[in-house]
Symmetry: C2
Subunit: 432 residues, 2 copies
């Protein structure tokens, strides 16, 4: 009989409860799968008395994380409290005590990843974070191990289920952004304060982590261009559909030589693109590697069980490594990246969808087209879905390849025209 | 400087050449990704003089596999010769010499997996085989590690690119099976003798491997129900489309309690199913786990570079394990399966698509329906696309849930009717 590997869990919310339930109720089965006995020794939570769908033996639960962090028998600490503090301090304490750490904390990794990985390397232990991106989809392992022989050329992710659910709902007849958000909240897919999700910040956190894995490059979310979905209307989604596109909030990472583009924004994707078929709360990551070509990883990106699945895969990884007599199998992350420069947003090139809100009168299109022309932006197609003389109507336009800086300059100029009555909506188009 | 890990490669065909090229031309980069220096020390091939798109130093290539198998410095042997013999003997020799083995040889694993894994466990080394199923898609690692905490409930795979390409081509206007096969051969997607692919045997080999990983159950391909695509016509694909289905050659594994269904056959899948959108030579595996729910892994299932990507991921896995001081990280495969019984084909239940070739005259449908009724098969819908009195015309039917044994009995009886002029085509429908 091998010596069991003892695990401590800090945080007993939605995901923590799922993890605890599997570790407790399926202990024998799970240990067999891992190839080594695994025991959940202690759980720390601020709310030990709360009703949860798992039976917890007396003595298993504590209010004090130090009961885990200072227990020399516990070799693995699962951190599922979220937020920057005190998660960061607890994680640091675990690493100092030479405990392996498993976390789903994307904000913490996005902001403090490098120092956390350094501390782990110093201590000779590992930090696992499969659950930090795309819930149950094994994308971290996929990039770090499965596609390790590839130079990744591009990565596109739908990695925020809340936003994707709202955009999917809005593609239904007559469904506004507000109605879609309300539906998401009623179903438990959106938080009371959904700003982090809808403004793209959660996506940026995850893109920061994916960028480290795919390109060896650490980029703080604050250094990325991040735009959310609140400006997208029901009509934009329908005009896009008529033009052959879906609208998705994408995390985008593209490499060209030693330069990297990293950005988060609503995107028009061709209807045939595999990511166009990712609906509702599902997540997917589309990766292009120089050897494998296109790959798609698709699944549930959130929720108790899918996220617990990812945490538990990490538990097995760590347990197998410990039982094989090594504390650290994966090398420190390859941060000696070949990427020399993050391309500034102004330099990116692509096609654009514009929705102008303009007064419907002769000559409007000419004025807009003239300004676009002076900025070297050429028009691929125009739709004017609604004609009502002297009213404000939408004018929809798709451009050929143009440069972001010139697009912004042109739009600033156009938005000063008296015929333009609201800020123009611009959505970037990706061929994928 | 860490001691380099020395690798030997047996087999320098399409994939072997790709693997060699990366190991030679990107040696420094690849070693950095792995976290440990990796050197390709020797390549064995029967055709050392053949022109290949990689420069091979004098002395690197040998005709004699023993130059690899008996070299004490070589710790890792990559077997890419394919076929059962002498691949099996070479692999056994490598394992006896305590060398880790990496292989893409699905036929060998499907037929001799258990004894190979036992020999590896005895020797304290590992056998890696990511490239044996679905080329560059990391499905082996996905099942064995990424989804390890899940009880897998079902697995559906499009894992033969040749068949999927042909079915995709046949969905185009007027494209026959023969024309599609010819196109596949011209593009290099089908071999001169494509029987292994088209008859489902290659798919069965891969399903045998996936079954071991997903359910801990070893089933020989010969023990599975395997049906290929040659009976499918252009018209079947179009009738299916009209009914809302795609036609795919699927590997199917479904668990119910302690029973497992394993089968390979052409399948009607609802158009909305993620696998319905997998076209051409692409592969995809759709997995349902009790924690993660639905997942899809999608990518290129064959070809030099995608397959090399998988082989090289295994090289990194082994190299990292060796450099971390452990020879064996993953446990022996969990073959103490909870599966007690492989469900015989006669017991499976599902809906069916039938194409009867019958004489068009009054009373035909009544005769067929009566026989189906006596076998407890009820009809969901009927289409008679072509009416030509007293000619042989197709009659298309979709059933409600029925049992395979009764379906076969009914069809045998129907096919003896004088109004039936050709063997009835039956295609199973899966909801997925």
């Amino acid at each position: 009989m091998m010596k069991p590997i003892q695990v401590g869990l800090i945080g007993l919310g939605t995901v923590g409860t799922g993890v605890a339930k599997v570790l407790i109720e399926r202990q024998a089965w799970f240990s067999k799968r891992a190839g080594v006995p695994i025991v959940l020794k202690k759980i720390a939570t601020r709310h030990p008395a709360r009703q949860r769908p798992v039976r917890l033996k007396p003595g298993l639960v504590t209010r004090n994380p130090n009961d885990i962090l200072q227990d020399p028998e516990i070799q693995v600490v699962i951190e599922l409290v979220g937020g920057l503090h005190p998660a960061k301090e607890w994680m640091a304490a675990a690493l100092r005590a030479k405990k392996h750490v498993i976390t789903a904390n994307k904000a913490l990794l996005a902001h403090h990843g490098p120092e956390i990985f350094k501390a782990a390397a110093r201590a000779g232990v590992s930090v696992h974070f499969e659950a930090s991106v795309a819930g149950g989809i094994p994308i971290i392992k996929g990039l770090r191990e499965g596609l390790v022989a590839n130079e990744i050329q591009a990565l596109y992710g739908i990695i925020n289920g809340t936003s994707n659910f709202i955009l999917s709902e809005m593609s239904r007849e007559g469904c506004s952004f507000d109605a879609a958000l309300k539906e998401a909240q009623q179903r438990g897919y959106a938080e009371r304060n959904p700003a982090l999700d809808l403004k793209g910040i959660d996506t940026a956190h995850k893109l920061s982590i994916l960028s480290l894995l795919a390109f060896g490059k650490t980029v703080q979310p604050e250094e990325m261009f991040v735009e959310g979905i609140p400006e997208i209307t029901h009509n934009d989604i329908h005009y896009a559909k008529d033009l052959g596109y879906s609208v998705k909030l994408l995390a985008i990472a593209k490499r060209e030589g030693n330069e990297l583009e990293l950005r988060v924004h609503p995107t028009l994707l061709p209807r045939q693109h595999p990511l166009s078929r990712v609906h509702g709360v599902y997540n997917a990551i589309y990766v292009k590697g120089d050897l494998v070509g296109e790959q798609l990883f698709y699944g549930q990106g959130a929720g108790r069980w899918p996220t617990a699945s990812a945490v538990l895969a990490d538990v097995v990884d760590v347990a197998r490594a410990i039982s094989a007599g090594t504390s650290l199998r994966s090398p420190a992350l390859d941060t000696a990246s070949a990427i020399r420069r993050i391309r500034p947003m102004g330099e990116i090139e692509g096609r654009y969808y514009f929705r102008f809100s303009c007064i419907d009168r002769p000559g409007v299109l000419a004025k807009i087209a003239r300004i676009l022309g002076t900025h070297h932006i050429s028009i691929a197609s125009v739709i004017q879905p609604d004609r009502r003389r002297d009213h404000i109507v939408p004018l929809i336009m798709v451009t050929h390849e143009a440069r972001e800086r010139q697009v912004q300059a042109a739009l600033a100029e156009i938005d000063r025209l008296s015929i333009i009555r609201r800020k123009t909506v611009a959505i970037r188009i990706e061929r994928g």
